[in-house]
Symmetry: C2
Subunit: 388 residues, 2 copies
Amino acid sequence: LKGILFISIYIAFFHLLGINTMKVKGKHFSSIWVDELDKSLINIIDQRKLPFEFKILQLRTIKDYFDAIKDMAVRGAPLIGVTAGFAIYVAALESQNSADWTRYIVDMANYIKSARPTAVNLEWAVNDQLNLIESSGNPSEYIELLYHNACKLRENDIEINRQIGINGVVLIENLNKYLKRTVNILTHCNAGWLATVDYGTALSPIFEANARGIDVHVWVDETRPRNQGAKLTAWELENEGIKHTVIPDNTGGHLMQNGIVDIVIVGTDRTSINGDVANKIGTYLKALAAYDNNIPFYVAAPSSSIDFSIDTSKSKIPIEQRDQREVRYVDGLLEGQLVEILTVPEESPCANYAFDVTPSRLVTGLITEMGICSSKKEGISNLFPNRV
Amino acid sequence: LKGILFISIYIAFFHLLGINTMKVKGKHFSSIWVDELDKSLINIIDQRKLPFEFKILQLRTIKDYFDAIKDMAVRGAPLIGVTAGFAIYVAALESQNSADWTRYIVDMANYIKSARPTAVNLEWAVNDQLNLIESSGNPSEYIELLYHNACKLRENDIEINRQIGINGVVLIENLNKYLKRTVNILTHCNAGWLATVDYGTALSPIFEANARGIDVHVWVDETRPRNQGAKLTAWELENEGIKHTVIPDNTGGHLMQNGIVDIVIVGTDRTSINGDVANKIGTYLKALAAYDNNIPFYVAAPSSSIDFSIDTSKSKIPIEQRDQREVRYVDGLLEGQLVEILTVPEESPCANYAFDVTPSRLVTGLITEMGICSSKKEGISNLFPNRV
């Protein structure tokens, strides 16, 4: 309750201040929004084309949602969750043509959940919607309810991420005071506003630091195989005018050994109750290097990405394996055209594990919307006493 | 002397057995050889085009050598060394037109050395050639000497690598006996026959294991930014019919956590006398992960890559920074044509550190032509008592 009150005050505060959210070439955008003319249409930025093409996609059918999540037109655990929220609303719209409408919604909920297995936000948002529905009644009663709840999930995501920025910026501010120079931050993959509705998780403290005039520079891991660092994180930072350098994923350890990384901040797709962090493949390697060089390693974890039901000392977080085509082909610009090229010998097989799990012992702390805590059961339960 | 005798016996042994070296589509090739018709012409495989185009380049002038090394038409510490050996022979040929021929050769030697700063083999081979020359006399006296010494460097490299295979295969053989299943080996970058004259360093034990019928599977790190793993290592393994899977550089840690890597074997560009290993950027991250998961981490280090003059507790190994263009652009096949595409936003800067240094404490051992030793001063001096 205290948390909700706290967030509500923040919502009011920033709305009153009229603070702008993230920008594309100076104009504000969020990553998902309801169409102004037709509220059954949801607009998203097609993240597969960025940074080379800025294209807006409209999601209409449940299949559109599944494809957008599966093919990563939308990606990032928080954004996947919000998108799934709208998907259940659309499933309810579609269910009106079905003989057994509750069954249709539940089937579609499972279909959407199956699109990406690792991010817990997807499951969480779908369940949050399903909880509103009782099998009595008829779908028309629930459509408005589901619509408003999806919008609420979207709004909450924005404010939660803003709060992560407020909480996390303290770490950067302190480093800046102590070091009296540019703070060098390393991040992996994209946990920026494109991975959420707005502000981002790992990048939110960086945007906030920039807004406060703190001198920061970001080492951006390219993040193979889909290059979300090089493509999305670099693009977001460029649009906000924040100094950054794109590096191959191999580079971070060397930079840490040479004292040019002051802090690592990454996102998470699912953090277990005992503080193990599933995040984009390669996160574990950076955590090892940070630990080896005494560099703080923080995970920006909205509570929607914490899986309060899973203890990884007892069971495992499912790790998605994606199509090897994503390793085999790289996309980019050739003479102004977006093309895809083969980079591996035709006959050689590839493997594409999408995530890895960084053990709690390597994580300095979690930055949540409720504050910063240790990545241990005790730390998490201090901030979220009712959920552990 | 014992070493030379030992190697000589091996040369004789394998020549008598008529054992074939490495193959391209069934036909034997080495990575560098003297032209049959004109011994002042040296042929190399242009490694920038592989695996998509198999193109042979002819090196004639000292500028050709510099460019081939600098632009990485030839790469891999041992091959760079052998190429540099021939470069000094060509410098002597060219010096005949110079007023001050010794000065010309020394200038050209420094020019060649400046092409790549990290690999010690380059410096070593150039100096080995320079030691033959006395400033008295005239170049014609030395040309044959330098030619024969360059050929000897080439032949020695082949036999040294063969010996690394013989010494290293024991590790794989033992794992296979113990595990009673396929041995999963992870390697980074290309330390195969293309990185040497023949057989390779890190891949030599793998080729030898395959020749002995041991069931192996190789996890091939893609190795950004130049993708020598995906392009060259995968291609070599495919040509030898060895099971392999190409993975993004981010993946190795996850594989190790899940028990599907049994041993890591990599090459080195320069190993200090105290056992710190400079190798392709990202090697350090894999060494950390291997250490964290109790997986043996071996470095295949011909003595020409051991820098007996440098103690990294006192001074540093120079780390080459290459053009950021290599990070920004990726090359590959588009509709059968080799093209280069932009993968990073135009405005975003990139950094391209070519190597990192893996501390001795993370290295299980060095596989040298003289045997396997710990990656410590004591281990190295046991095998090379006259050089420490």
